[in-house]
Amino acid sequence: MMGSFGSPDLCMADLILVVAEQRDATPANQLAGGPGGKLNRVSFETVAAAQAIAKETGWAVEVVLPGSGIAGLAQELAAKAVGKVYALEADALAAYTSDAYVHALKTFIGEKQPKLVLFPHTYQVRDFAPRLALALDRTLISDATGYKFEGGALKFTRQMFQGKFAADVSFGGDAPWMATVQIGAFRGDQAFSSDGSVPVESVTAMVADGPARVTPHEVFQEAKQTVDLSQAEVIVAVGRGIKEQKNMVLAENLAAALGGEVAASRPICDNGWLPLERQIGSSGQTVAPKLYIALGVSGAIQHIVGMKGARTIVAINKDPEAPIFEIADVAVVGDLFQVVPALTEEIKKAKGS
């Protein structure tokens, strides 16, 4: 059973525990002689977030990686400046199921009693972390973009109302406090490295016995990709503001003038106006072109995480409060149906000269 949280002052360690994520650590991949799966690189972003919080709070940082046959991957995490890395292992953790993850991490967190548990806001974490928090009788602040440590209290900032507002959210109850960190909010390549002396400890995970309620099958991709938007230098992206399928030609003409690719936010692909492989955002492609022109894209979080690495962002939107403008270099407040044809002509002129 997990330890009691009844007397936090007595047993609560001043510790930030980062829950890292790996993929494909399957027996087949390990037999192939490789490292047996790979770390989800966003784990390093969460390590960077934990290190930043630790710098202000003075708390220690440790990392736990759940899986099976993951000693090599745990070593990779130990390259970062953290106190310790735990490889939390059990056969039942080889293929992800929420039941196994919740059970294993509930027991582990119950023993370690950290002050704060941080996760990357991945689809996998979204699947199990809320349930884990409630199983520990705690709360989870999801998709944090930043934190504030003021007067000894830790608050997380997150977006609300599709990015139209930001909220500072505090924890009302006892530690361990739990939060997920938005993809791209911290720089993984800026996580401090260790001097090579970080210990890796293998821990046998406690997992539920009894029949599995969920049977996972292999992860797959639909059709072979015919376009690699991650390599595109110029992308013209379309959002709901385009209104009708027949208006897509405006974006196509602009992209053609620029020698770029056309892409879209999710609703456009859901409508079938562009193939899914041209969808930008958390469920689609992540891109970092030299130029990204967003036409009628409001800038919901799920879209922003896929394109905010673009070097120059031009946004055209009739709503002066559209969240896309917060990350834009050029914000054109106006009617895209008038601005885009004019812009296409100007670009043709500029390129012709």
Partner: protein, 256 residues
């Protein structure tokens, strides 16, 4: 199949939002609509019922105005509605919302509970998952395909970056539904007429209050986020705006 759909009323997508004087929530005088992923969850429930028989119930927790999203669901074909009606449900965190929903459906024993993968207001993506934990049944998130089998469900989960996974699970279960799983239907005139005759059960705050806990996360402050970049704002007639953008791309960004 006996199916429950959890839906939420949220501000309309392009509604201009204003903060309340305390800066802790939005002002209520906006136009509202059904949370989009919840609309897809409802559509999926109606399609499953059409294939396999059974009934579809819809539930929401919110002020009197939120009855509108239940009426629309009934007009589209849901059989009955449950309304946890109180102003206090509007800003409630995911855990207490899930506790309230669980309390309101006690003894109902639904085979399947579906809801949108997240709401357009909080965007926490937690209520469905927490409801499964409270009910002690399995769940799966970000579902893009549902097939009923002899033993339970065969599901298609969406993962990041164009990846998918099939999973099988037992019922009863809670699923959170991704937008785009199906094509939404419109309510018909006859559906709108029939909706007025369909049962709507009201659940008062007092009936579920005992099942709620102290809220353990609190919105201290809601505010308009500052621009993360030095943004050049252009508000000019189209031709002039286009010239200024091209000048920026040539001279400042140097991408033309």
């Amino acid at each position: 199949m006996k199916i429950l759909v959890c839906i939420k009323q949220v501000p309309q997508k392009d509604a201009p939002l204003r903060l309340n004087p305390e800066g802790t929530w939005i002002r209520d005088d906006v136009s509202w609509e059904t949370n989009e992923p919840d609309a897809y969850a409802l559509e999926e429930a109606l399609r499953q019922k059409e294939k396999h028989g059974g009934e579809v119930a819809v539930i929401t927790a919110g002020p009197a105005r939120s009855q509108q999203v239940l009426r629309e669901a009934l007009a589209k074909g849901a059989d009955r509605a449950i309304h946890l009606e109180d102003d206090r449900f509007a800003q409630m965190d995911a855990a207490n919302t899930a506790r309230a929903l669980a309390a309101a459906i006690e003894g109902e024993n639904f085979d399947l509970i579906v809801t949108g993968l997240q709401s357009d207001d909080f965007g926490a993506a937690q209520t469905g998952v927490l409801l499964a934990e409270i009910l002690g049944i399995p769940h799966a998130t970000i579902i893009i395909g549902i097939e009923k089998t002899d033993t339970g469900l065969k599901l298609k989960r969406e993962l990041e970056a164009g990846h998918y996974q099939h999973i099988e699970m037992t019922m009863p279960a809670v699923l959170t539904i991704q937008s785009g799983i199906n094509k939404l239907r419109y309510a018909t005139l006859i559906g709108i007429k029939q909706a007025k005759m369909k049962p709507m059960r009201k659940v008062a705050w007092a009936e579920v209050e005992g099942k709620l806990s102290k809220s353990v996360q609190k919105i201290e402050k809601l505010y308009v986020p500052g621009s993360q970049k030095k943004t050049r704002k252009i508000e000019a007639p189209a031709g002039e705006a286009a010239k200024q953008v091209v000048e920026y791309l040539k001279e400042t960004a140097r991408v033309l």
